[in-house]
Symmetry: C2
Subunit: 477 residues, 2 copies
């Protein structure tokens, strides 16, 4: 809406950079008059729409999409003791309709187990109803008392993708956890966001879960951001909500469940991992505009340039690219600034000299300049964008690798977590975890690490010297 | 989830038919433990997704999609007196976060004017920022005390598409009202749902609007269902929320606004207008499955039939149809019942005799049976579906025409509204409106009628005999 031509803070100064890029690149407006609630600008929403389109396609492979109500009656919500304990301080309560006090207060879902599982109990009768795999993309709410931050720590999570599956056996549920992790990896691969997968320590698992495996990325300030979680629920909820099925022998059995979620933190990750000092850098898959054409207009040949630019636009559109011809009456430099800030992957400049030479100039958002033959321009653009995609992937992976340090002592760990993630050996005891966390002012993130950037091993616990296993320690969002 | 093979009530018995088809065709589950809140089954959600995909494409032509928070602080919500008066009995209030009472109660949006317009006030500075045309598809809430009904009268409207536009002049805003009506007509045309457009009487307009033009369809029981509204807001809200712009002469001016919405009543209309005694009838555009292939398996030639069916599935998929091969081990009749209930537009039967004759049998959901040449099957299916689409359109338009009656007296009006909509002359006074409404036990729906099924004229008011204009009277949902 307002145009601004000021400079973005350097990305090194990450917290300020992040706050400023959100409005300069028109992702979110933070001026909504309630703490922790934000407004999606159309450009930000268009990125979100594309990212969730990718996620939906992945989920649709083996889930069905559905939608459950936002409001959960207190009576259902309170049934599962461990679960409610994990959320009771964070739940918003609707207590009045019009001027009437409600008989039963209604919770705004912080997550939907307690809305969905009473229905699963009605739906599931027989082993032939299993497995059941549903997901929904909905708004969820957390009354966050900590410092809120757009896309990262919100009171309304506007885009929570949550999946809930039911299986006949514990083994099948455990296998589904791995399937879900595979889908999440594929999702982040396609966003070119590198991740580390690890199992959360017991005290940090989802309330009511047997275990939680999480997907994290490392932010430019070295803190980790949890951008996906997969929970093995075992038969914990099925016993509370009576989700049973008749097995092949006619016996009633409790079902086993999993649930897993991704929120708009995925958008925060795209912004933070790829962005630079000039603004957003968007992978072509999620860019609302993939190619912007900037005509270089020189006095007399204005009409000729504009019509060449329009013909180019037409040709690229037909080839399936999302293209914008920027023929506004502004100098090219201001247009470059504008589209770089918004992360457009490729800019094509076309001026009189290009027309004469039958070429165009292609500049990727990461600064690679290529002269393309005008005749084979579609193939040229495909190839330049493919190169760009691999380029930002390599850059992001290198940045992550640079922030991972193997540490053998508490001193090395303390040093390592200033820069990013420390990989230490830990014996698994809560006592040592507390020692480590206090000594290095960071958290045990998880064990059972899966990342091709980290080699895991056994070794002496960094706190007690007993046998330990590779574990991530980090400052977290 | 559960399969059921019982019969649907006859559609004549509309209220029972509607309630039953919702679960038999797997649209919604009404057993969620809060009144007025329902669960979308995957099949219902898939219809919703396709219908809203069409709506989105229409809106994207000249609007941008965005998303504003659900929660509106009481302080903003209470600013606009007329508006709040229209909603105060229907608003859900969040009063607590965790165990803390909130300083300012938060309303669950019943509609988003009071969430969006404070931001518009920040965004709009100059005439070059106008027009601004945004929309969002969100959940909204009404504390309905009347009888609730799935998709029709809800406490959580899960799929409210609301657009909010801002213009420099009253004329431009009024023109936008017409643009919006055009988009809504196009939307319902593509769903093959016939509509009547009319201007609501003053006492029935949107709280805070200058005038409201509504889109209605007629349900099988003769009651009208409002399935879209377009509101001319004038400068009413812009004066409250200080939405001003600097015009070309440097003067500050109040902006003019419109807003317009469509909810999941659009899905209720698809179900009710097209459905029949056997179940749903879905236009191909919104059908989650467009073609179901049922192999007719006869003993020895089982493998041959199944492989012919699979080849047919492949060919139709490649041509772009959404196809399901139903090779379950059930008798064909049970499969027909299953897919007819769910509204699949086209069933193709293929058995040994068809293979021998190099044909397939195509049966549309409205019962038209055609033998198609196997070689040209793709063209055949296109043409049969096109015919089906026109067929359900003609049927729906005829059904609407049959329910519209011109009435010259109160007696005729009373008779007409039993069957559907009466078209009467009305002078425009509230006094006569009350007389008419009391006498015929129905409501004045609107004037300024636009429908190619109704010829409008001037004539003596059916209540007082003064000069009146054609007006719709109906029992309404």
């Amino acid at each position: 809406m307002e145009e601004d031509t000021g400079a973005l803070p350097r990305k090194e100064d990450f917290s300020r950079w992040y706050n400023e890029i959100l409005w300069r690149a028109e992702i979110m407006d933070v001026r909504y008059p309630v703490k922790g609630l934000y407004v999606w600008y159309p450009h930000g929403f268009a990125v979100r729409k594309r990212a969730y389109g990718i996620l939906r396609d992945l989920m649709d492979r083996e889930h069905e999409e559905t939608m459950f109500p936002l409001l959960i009656p207190e009576t259902e919500f309170m049934k599962e003791a461990t679960h409610i304990k994990g959320f009771e301080d964070e739940v918003y309560w609707v207590t009045h309709g019009g001027k009437n006090e409600l008989d039963v207060p209604l919770a705004l879902r912080p997550t939907s187990e307690t809305a969905i599982y009473p229905m699963y109990s009605l739906w599931i009768r027989s082993h032939t109803d299993l497995p059941l795999k549903l997901y929904q993309i909905v708004n969820t709410f957390r009354y966050e008392t900590k410092h809120t931050r757009p896309l990262i720590r919100l009171r309304e999570i506007t885009s929570f993708k949550e999946a809930h599956t039911v299986h006949a056996t514990r083994e099948e549920a455990a296998a589904q956890v791995e399937v879900a992790l595979g889908l999440y990896r594929e999702f982040y691969d396609s966003l070119r966001v590198p991740v580390i997968v690890s199992r959360r320590p017991d005290w940090d698992k989802f309330p009511g879960a047997d275990y939680t495996i999480a997907v994290d990325t490392i932010m430019p300030d070295g803190k980790t951001l949890q951008i996906g979680t997969v929970h093995m629920l075992g038969d914990h909820f099925s016993r509370t909500y009576e989700i049973t099925y008749e097995d092949a022998d006619g016996e009633q059995q409790y079902a086993y469940q999993t649930c897993y979620g991704i929120s708009e933190r995925s958008i925060a990750a795209i912004i933070s991992v790829h962005g630079d000092d000039k603004g957003l850098v968007l992978p072509p898959e999620v860019a609302p505009i993939q190619v912007v054409i900037v005509p270089i207009i020189v006095g007399k040949r204005r009409d000729e340039v504009l019509s060449a630019a329009a013909a180019l636009e037409e040709e690229l559109k037909e080839a399936g690219f999302v293209v914008r011809l920027d023929d506004r009456d502004m100098r090219p430099g201001a247009k470059y600034y504008h589209w770089e800030m918004r992360g457009v992957p490729l800019r094509i400049e076309i001026g009189p000299r290009d027309i004469d030479a039958n070429t165009v100039v292609a500049v990727t958002r990461d600064g690679q300049k290529t002269k393309l033959d005008r005749r084979g321009v579609v193939e040229g653009v495909f190839s330049v964008l493919a190169g760009f995609r691999e380029g930002i992937w390599a850059t992001a992976r290198q940045a992550m690798a640079d922030r991972i340090t193997v540490a053998a002592t508490l001193e090395e760990t303390a040093e390592a977590v200033k820069n990013g993630v420390a990989v230490v050996h830990w014996c698994g005891s809560q006592e040592c975890a507390e020692k480590i966390e206090t000594a290095v002012d960071a958290s045990i993130l998880g064990s059972d690490i899966r990342s091709d950037l980290i080699t895991v091993s056994d070794g002496p616990c960094v706190a007690c010297g007993d046998r330990g296993t590779s574990t991530l320690v980090a400052r977290t969002y």
